[in-house]
């Protein structure tokens, strides 16, 4: 497939997904995984998970891993296309919302809808995490993930430290 076709397809994917990303882009992971790994074979699950991890250790809003997927497919043009496509609809919607903020604030349905969608978005986030876990090449990575999870859960350690320890553990154990 030609590079420009990939760009158009990716832009369409993100434009359509952008309507759905309530509560951030993490619930989109299953659909993105399907596109980049399963259907198109543009990257492996390890690469996919690696990009998400890379974006977490770098500063900035965590949508930026989406730019990395785009970069993997088509360089800078891919990065900008992916970021532009995922941001366009929310951008326009937010500009409109800002103008009618007071009315939205008073609307009781806002709270009802948000409450109703919360279990679904969290479920989709879980599905994404499970996909990433399933793609891990080594059982020791599972153990490491379990240990890291308990550290996040029960200590106040900044997540970056634990992610750094994870990288070091990977090198030492040769995962």
């Amino acid at each position: 497939m030609k590079g420009s076709d990939q760009l158009v397809d990716m832009a369409l994917l993100y434009m359509s997904l952008s309507f759905l990303c309530i509560g951030g882009t993490i619930p989109l992971i299953p659909d993105m995984h399907r596109f980049f790994v399963d259907t198109r074979g543009l990257m492996t699950t390890t690469e996919f998970a690696g990009y998400i991890a890379l974006a977490q250790v770098a500063p900035g809003p965590n949508i930026l891993y989406i730019a990395l997927f785009g970069y993997h497919v088509a360089g800078i043009a891919g990065a900008l296309t992916a970021l532009g496509a995922i941001s366009f609809v929310p951008f326009v919607l937010m500009v409109i919302v800002t103008k009618m903020f007071a009315r939205l604030q008073a609307n009781p349905w806002r709270e009802i809808v948000l409450r109703g969608l919360a279990p679904v978005t969290v479920g989709l986030m879980f599905a994404g995490c499970m996909l990433l876990f399933r793609g891990m090449p080594d059982w020791r990575a599972w153990v490491l993930a379990a240990v890291a999870f308990f550290v996040f859960m029960f200590t106040k350690l900044h997540p970056l430290w634990m992610i750094g320890v994870g990288a070091l553990t990977g090198v030492v154990l040769g995962m």
Partner: protein, 185 residues
């Protein structure tokens, strides 16, 4: 436009707007919202604590990453669409450059086995962090049996049945809104 806030008379310049969101962008590691609060409420005093919380709740109801939505909201409020673009560029521009450079460095050494191993370990810990964040995001529904069932059903339909996200959101979301309307979530 906004009745509740006292400091709306003050309008930051476009430059100040850009710099504030640039600062949020480069300070934000693993979740930008706490930094947004610190910089916009505590340091700059553009918003009151209450304003900030209310704006964030509205940002959460609109599709898109919360922090980017917040940038667009604040930008639009002070300088219209141009302001929104400025704030967006501020929060995304520099972090994107840093990330692409980091990515180049990673790929330059990606063939080394140690780098591959390190990346695997890093991804394991980072995925665990995602899992932790999703648990924390759940909020009050964890205390409701039906909420937990709905969450498990959504996860299974996406993971085992390979449903597209749109379908999961449509079907499970409809169930969720009905449950929520009845006060069961």
């Amino acid at each position: 436009m906004i009745e509740s806030s006292a400091p709306t008379a003050f309008v930051p310049s476009r430059r100040a707007l850009f710099l504030a969101f640039l600062q949020i962008g480069v300070s934000a590691f693993g979740g930008a919202l706490p930094w947004g609060r610190r910089i916009l409420v505590e340091d700059r005093e553009w918003l009151s604590e209450r304003d900030f919380t209310e704006i964030v709740t509205v940002c959460q109801a609109v599709p898109g990453p919360n922090m980017v939505n917040l940038a667009v909201f604040i930008g639009t409020r002070y300088h219209g669409i141009v302001g929104a673009l400025i704030a967006f560029a501020g929060i995304v521009g520099v972090p994107l450059t840093i990330l692409l450079l980091l990515n180049e460095v990673y790929h330059a050494f990606a063939h080394l086995p140690q780098v591959k191993s390190g990346m695997t370990g890093m991804a394991a810990a980072a995925t665990a962090y995602l899992l932790f964040m999703s648990l924390k995001m759940g909020g009050p529904f964890w205390k409701r049996p039906l909420g937990i069932v709905l969450c498990a059903a959504s996860a299974s339909l996406a993971f085992f049945a390979h449903w597209h996200m749109a379908l999961v959101l449509l079907v499970c979301g409809a169930v969720g809104v009905v449950l929520s309307k009845r006060g069961q979530l």
